[in-house]
């Protein structure tokens, strides 16, 4: 299948910051690529170059077979973009926002209005459609912004962190919307800081850090590199460590790790909460007292730790962003 989005050797520097440092991408038609990376990894820069908003210093990119640097106007006629921050006009109503975009895509008066109503309906915004966007919640704005990128039914769609800053409920809603969207055959490039999100939505994932691709594969392939989920527990008394290890070894998929100093036992498992409950039952029966217990899934942090040997810079990111997705993901 032909690659609808293709980028080779994209470089973009700002002063001595390498926003992109030789990024290659390929997205086959009708598939979803998740571009996964922490704050500052270069995700937005990549999206801006692919959507003709920014000229790379070097490298080439094609969207729908068209060179983004040489024929940007033709690229714009074929793409939809929903940027990292909802770019909707506060003072216009939802309907007016969509109608304006329709007209600017060159739709006639009637088709543009009909399309606006249709999209409001699809995105569950009909009731709010005639209210100024100022009164919308964050989730509603994001949905409206996404609707705006779909006005002209573009075959190629770019979504830059579509759920960052949303509450968990709105996030799940947004995932459903995007899932429905890709079922209809749109080629999608999606950026995210959440492994879970890439997992839910993307066919393939490219992990980037400091403007470079550091890993690529399906969600399962990436998780396999990092290891699956595991039970972590801290026992109250060091005497219980051997018992705990033996019990967990019966349930674990691999070697059980013990840290005597912190009295922590770690066991890779499959089977999720069921395994955890079974483990707790057996530990309880053996009279082991626990200080702490958790079922941990691999997080972006783990991916990073494994792939780069350094942790994603959570501290700096938390300060730079109102939302703290990385810290949240580790919880």
């Amino acid at each position: 299948m032909a690659d609808v989005i293709r980028a080779a050797g994209l470089v973009k520097t700002y002063g001595d910051v390498h926003a992109l440092d030789g990024l290659d991408l390929a997205v086959p038609e009708g598939t979803v690529l998740g571009l996964l990376g922490p704050n500052g990894a270069g995700k937005t820069t990549a999206v801006r170059i692919l959507t003709t908003l920014l000229e790379p210093d070097s490298g080439s990119a094609e969207v729908a077979g068209i060179d983004v640097r040489k024929r940007p106007a033709e690229v714009r006629a074929r793409i939809g973009l929903s940027g990292q921050y909802a770019a909707v006009d506060e003072y216009l109503t939802g309907f007016e926002n969509l109608d304006m975009i329709g007209r600017l895509y060159g739709l006639g008066r009637r088709p543009s209005r009909d399309r606006a109503r249709e999209l409001l309906e699809s995105f569950d915004l009909s009731d709010a459609g005639d209210r100024p966007v100022k009164t919308y919640s964050g989730g509603m704005r994001r949905r409206l912004d996404l609707a705006g990128s779909l006005v002209a039914r573009p075959p190629v769609l770019f979504l830059d962190e579509p759920t960052t800053g949303l509450d968990p409920r709105s996030r799940t809603d947004m995932w459903e919307v995007i899932n429905d969207l890709v079922k209809s055959g749109t080629t999608l490039l999606l950026t995210t800081q959440y492994l879970e999100e890439a997992d839910r939505l993307a066919d393939r994932i490219v992990v980037i850090d400091h403007g470079k691709s550091i890993a690529e594969g399906t969600a399962d392939e990436l998780k396999a590199q990092v290891g699956g989920e595991r039970i972590e527990l801290v026992v109250a008394s060091a005497e219980d460590l051997p018992t705990s290890r033996d019990i967990l070894a019966q349930l674990a998929e691999g070697a059980v790790g013990i840290d005597d100093h912190t009295r922590r036992v770690t066991a890779p498992v499959t089977g999720g909460a069921g395994v955890l409950i079974e483990a707790l039952r057996r530990l309880d029966a053996a009279g082991v007292t626990l200080h702490d217990v958790a079922l941990r899934r691999p997080t972006l942090d783990d991916v990073f730790l494994t792939l780069t040997g350094h942790a994603a810079e959570i501290e700096a990111d938390a300060a730079a962003d109102t939302d703290v997705p990385l810290a949240e993901a580790t919880r």
Binding site: T51, T52, R78, L81, D89, P154
Partner: protein, 281 residues
């Protein structure tokens, strides 16, 4: 949800219509005007200060300033018009800076719309805003004793010249708005420029008493020629310009028109170029 993208018409090669800059510009202008309608405070505040100016100057300075051959209020009102429409054009810069900050310009730039339509639409809606402002100002002027003593035709040309000059200034403000980081900075920067520009001129007081250097600047300042042209076209001139005034004040309409054309020739391409590279900040 499958209706979202199915029955997708193959997006054929765009036929960039020659008129797309105007149709797209109209869409953008309409959007800006909706904002003026929804946030009437904007209009209220942009007219409050000129009304205050009229009242302060007319009643505080009015007794001290005696332009030759004419009452001060008749002299003053065209000057206030000039200052007000120039301030009105700062809306262009502030609006663009705001749109960049909110990512709206990025959205526009990702659409297959005309590259200059955002600027055309912005400057157009700001001129329409200025029309409203001028109407309100004229009403206030009439209340304090200003009168149009020329013909209707001349008065209309007078208003058009004011709006045309403000339109040209809008394109300068567009460049400013596309460069500076926020609407607040646009507002502060334009204050710093517009106050000296409108005060070192015959806007509020006759220039006869100015020190030599300031007087030379004032004489050739297009703000002076615009104020002079307005006074002539509204019939508020008295004996000005004085016989020893320079060419610019003897032919204020032509001199002002030359400035308008000059500004547009320089700043329209500059603004369009800056728009194309404007990055969201």
């Amino acid at each position: 949800m499958t209706t979202l993208t199915k029955s997708m018409p193959a997006p054929g090669p765009l036929t960039p219509s020659r008129f797309k800059v105007f149709t797209d510009g109209a869409v953008v202008a309409k959007r800006n005007l909706i904002k003026i309608k929804r946030v009437p405070d904007l209009l209220v505040f942009s007219t409050m200060s000129p009304i205050m100016f009229i009242l302060l100057f007319a009643y505080v300075f009015g007794s001290a300033i005696h332009p030759p051959g004419i009452g001060y209020r008749e002299f003053l009102i065209p000057g206030i018009f000039v200052q007000t429409v120039i301030f009105g054009s700062t809306l262009t810069g502030a609006g663009l800076a705001d749109d960049i900050q909110k990512g709206i310009i990025d959205r526009f730039r990702s659409l297959p719309m005309s590259r200059s339509a955002v600027l055309v639409g912005r400057t157009t809606s700001d001129v329409l805003n200025n029309v409203l402002v001028v109407v309100i100002m004229s009403g206030t002027g009439l209340l304090v004793g200003w009168r149009i003593r020329s013909s209707v035709g001349e008065a209309i040309v007078g208003f058009l010249l004011l709006l045309a000059f403000a339109y040209a200034i809008s394109w300068i403000m567009a460049v400013v708005g596309l460069i500076v980081p926020s609407p607040e900075v646009v507002n502060n920067a334009s204050f710093m420029i517009i106050f000296p520009l409108t005060f070192i001129a015959n806007t509020f007081v006759p220039t006869q008493g100015f020190p030599t250097v300031l007087k030379a600047i004032a004489n050739w300042n297009p703000v002076s020629s615009l104020a002079q042209a307005s006074r002539q076209l509204f019939g508020n001139t008295g004996t000005t310009p004085l016989p020893n005034s320079p060419w610019s004040l003897h032919h204020p309409i032509i001199y002002t028109l030359l400035w308008i054309v000059g500004i547009l020739i320089v700043f329209v391409p500059l603004a369009v170029r800056q728009y194309k590279r404007a990055a969201s900040r």
